[in-house]
Symmetry: C2
Subunit: 122 residues, 2 copies
């Protein structure tokens, strides 16, 4: 059985806002992403999404709730159907737990950041 | 929305081999556990289980495969139906990602370490 080392996994790619599948289980996926700047406002109609910050700082903005600032070692679940926008002033490394088929921009299908194909770790 | 700080969450309990639910999403749970010594050999018939080491070192032993040693920042998925035994020489802090209803000792229902009730973070 093959383990995954998060440091080496994050070192293996540079692209931002482009989650890599690091593990799959029970129909869910653990994805790794590097993020910087403002993502697109979006929501996932049928999927809760967990954010866990590995390094740096990530702000999750909400339309109707206060922003949540996640620092290293902090996690947040964004419930399905809740519009949100991840923002990072400097590059942050994050883990996502969500269904394997969840698309990064959710209901927004035509953004320049929309990821149309699954990407695995190299 | 409430974030969870992993350092504070692990500081909030001392009991070993007694996972605390830190988050729930899509029928799955993120659980935090402190572990030390040898756990019981067991398997989960219907659930894959992810181990992610937050601090320390965790060895996952298998009947038919080589042991996997997980250090800080390393993760492994143990597929459903695969008998395994977690072992830690010194206390380790780990995150588990698995269905919310998964019991810690799996098919072994009467071990002294079997956790019969869900436990949440304080």
């Amino acid at each position: 059985m093959e383990k995954t080392n998060l440091t080496r996994a994050f070192d293996s790619f540079d692209e931002q806002w482009s989650p890599r599948v690091a593990a799959e289980l029970n129909g869910q996926a653990v994805k790794l992403a590097k993020v910087e700047g403002e993502f697109v406002w979006h929501q996932h109609e049928d999927a809760d999404e967990l954010f866990l910050v590995r390094s740096g700082e990530l702000t999750i903005e909400f339309r109707d709730d206060p922003d949540v600032v996640l620092e290293e070692g902090e996690l947040l679940v964004v419930p399905r159907g809740v519009e949100h926008r991840p923002v990072a002033d400097e590059e942050a490394e994050i883990l996502l737990f969500e269904p394997g088929e969840t698309q990064n921009t959710g209901n927004v299908q035509d953004d320049e950041l929309t990821q149309t194909e699954r990407r695995d770790l190299a």
